[in-house]
């Protein structure tokens, strides 16, 4: 829409202010992780000491390792189950399909506080209790809807006649999936997997209720540390986390390509 030049410029300035609001705190946090002062005093004197300290902090290292392997396990399970469900939704017509698709909404829409506490109650009731298995069960459930949604979006660009053509040439259901469907939706699956990894890796609330005290994921350890008091060491690990999760999302956006062709 054609607008006055002045208004247009004002709009750009405004956009800049909003971006500053979104990014400045993160930058400040990152900069402070390179500051020598334990009490965040200015001016900044550069050091990488806090990162070196991280390397010797066994609690953080353990938590980082837990976060990574839990996220990897979650990614594999959620991507496999989610992709299979998305393909079936695409391929078959059956009664109750709409209801099943609507059921994907609650895990995303209900506040994680509610889901997390409900999981805690249920897992204790069935004797599973807290710990990595409980955390993984929870993370997969939260990641599944995202995988299904992303893969389904990619499948919308897929011509169902390709599957029919493969079947008419004698390919079994599995051969059709392997040689025609999966290659086409590969980028969607990769994007879905990255989302799943991010959901798990960044997940705090559900991990907080389900992780075993003393053997937790990174966000839980950071939360506990923050409540005891801030140290630049937290800045350091937080900076690492934000760099990882933003890179993952940039990668996911590239693969998801928001519906474009590859």
């Amino acid at each position: 829409m054609a607008m006055g030049r002045f208004l247009e410029r004002l709009g750009r300035v405004y956009l800049g202010v909003v971006l500053a609001f979104l990014y400045v705190p993160i930058l400040v946090m990152a900069v402070m992780s390179f500051n020598q002062s334990e009490f965040y005093q200015l001016p900044i004197r550069f050091t990488t000491g806090w990162y070196e300290k991280l390397w010797n902090n066994s609690e953080i290292l353990n938590a980082a390792w837990s976060s990574v392997w839990i996220a990897c396990t979650t990614t594999v399970i959620a991507t496999t189950l989610g992709t299979a469900a998305a393909i079936a939704f695409f391929r078959y017509e059956f009664r109750g399909k709409v209801i099943l698709q609507a059921l994907l909404f609650p895990p995303i829409a209900i506040p994680w506080l509610i889901t997390g506490t409900a999981m805690l109650i249920f897992f204790f009731s069935i004797g599973l209790g807290r710990g990595a298995p409980a955390v993984i069960i929870g993370h997969v459930a939260l990641a599944l809807p995202y995988v299904i949604v992303v893969v389904t979006a990619r499948l919308r660009t897929f011509d169902p006649q390709l599957e029919e053509a493969a079947r008419s040439l004698g390919a079994s259901s599995w051969e059709v999936t392997r040689s025609v469907t999966l290659p086409w939706i590969a980028s969607g699956i990769i994007a879905g997997a990255l989302f799943a990894f991010a959901v798990s890796f960044d997940q705090f609330v559900v991990s907080y209720f389900l992780a075993e005290p003393g053997d937790s994921t990174l966000p839980v350890v950071i939360y506990t540390a923050i409540r005891k008091g801030f140290t630049p060491e937290i800045n350091a690990i937080s900076t690492i986390i934000i760099v990882i999760s933003m890179s993952l999302m940039l990668l996911a956006a590239r693969y998801a390509n928001f519906g474009g062709e590859r």
Partner: protein, 353 residues
């Protein structure tokens, strides 16, 4: 290779009856065109034969094998889809070789058969390309090569030429016919284009509202349609109705038209159809002749289309269409009253009811 027989096929989509007791025999090696307007059930019938749809009742037999319980991938059919459905992630050679790989042929065998199939469709040099690098006509040929390389028992074509532009379509019709003859495979194809059906088919079946209206050779279908729909759908027809006597029909304006005796069925016809190209226009009233039909009509429009000229006329408030070769009818005014006439043997008697 084998013939195909469908018997008493019924198929509903919800409340809509897509196929209503359809029975048809497709002879071994025959090129059969299923023709009908959209929604007539022609594609549904093709998909029932392919196995993508399952009929509510009725039987499908390919060769001697009843296939109602056989899934698509075990039916040994070849199919060409409307938009070709070439696998975008594979080269042309891999596309054509897909069915052979599924059948676990050796690499050498696959290479040989693929090369042969591509040679047949005259694309031997394009094996390494990707589908998106090919033109529409080339993709069409690849789709055909892919469908026949597995030596299926029957070849099914779903509106195979509809995505091509007109000039290319005519070339491909000739090409398709050549390949079908060379391979000798039973071929069933669906089209809504009557000209395409006439050009390609050994036999045609016309469907309407899920029912089979008529089957026959293009020649028979064109010259002896069983009802007004068949007459109008396969080619164009001017239809006349009136009081039917022993060998003549008296029209509303009192004039009579006749039809040739040999066409006459036991029952008197319900209507007379005349093809546009059978009618001659003349400025003066021709001499009375017992075997010529003659009506007075007025010219509304003349459409020049190069080799042919179409005259749109009006007789008794009924539009009449006449097709003539350019230069054939001279001295015809651009407007005003003229005489239209045609020999009695060009009258098509359409059975009543």
């Amino acid at each position: 290779m084998a013939g195909v027989r469908v018997a008493n096929i019924n198929k509903h989509f919800g409340a809509m009856k897509a196929l209503d007791d359809v029975s048809l025999d497709f002879a071994d090696g025959e090129f059969f065109g299923l023709l009908g307007p959209s929604g007539s059930g022609k594609t549904t019938l093709l998909r029932v034969i392919a196995g993508f749809l399952f009929a509510d009742s009725g039987s499908v037999v390919i060769g001697d094998q009843p296939v109602e319980r056989v899934p698509v991938e075990k039916r040994e059919i070849g199919m060409v889809f409307q938009n070709y459905a070439l696998f975008p992630n594979m080269s042309i050679a891999d596309n054509v070789g897909f069915g052979l790989r599924v059948r676990k042929q050796s690499r050498a065998e696959i290479a040989r058969n693929v090369a042969q199939a591509l040679e047949l469709v005259q694309l031997g040099h394009l094996g390494e390309r990707r589908p998106h690098q090919l033109s529409g006509g080339q993709r069409q040929r690849v789709a055909l090569a892919r469908a026949i390389v597995t030596q299926p028992r029957v070849l099914l074509l779903d509106e195979p030429l509809s995505a091509l532009d007109k000039a290319l379509r005519v070339d491909m019709q000739i090409e398709l016919k050549r390949i079908q003859r060379e391979v000798g495979i039973t071929t069933i194809f669906v089209t809504h284009d009557q000209e395409e059906a006439l050009t390609l088919s050994d036999r045609i079946g016309i469907l309407k509202d899920g029912r089979l209206v008529q089957t026959g050779t293009p020649h028979d279908m064109y010259h002896a349609p069983v009802n007004e729909f068949a007459a109008g759908f396969l080619g164009e027809a001017n239809i006349f109705k009136g009081a039917v006597g022993a060998s003549a029909m008296t029209l509303a304006d009192g004039s009579t038209i006749r039809w040739a005796d040999h066409q006459q069925d036991a029952r008197p016809p319900g209507a007379i159809a005349v093809r546009p190209e059978s009618v001659i226009v003349s400025a003066k009233r021709p001499d009375e002749h017992p075997h010529m039909n003659c009506l007075k009509a007025s010219i509304r429009q003349k459409i020049f289309a190069g080799p042919t000229v179409t005259y749109l006329l009006e007789w008794q408030d009924q539009p009449i269409k006449i097709l003539a070769k350019e230069g054939e009818m001279k001295d015809i005014p651009d407007a005003g009253d003229v005489w239209i006439n045609w020999p009695a043997e060009k009258s098509i008697a359409i059975p009543a009811g």
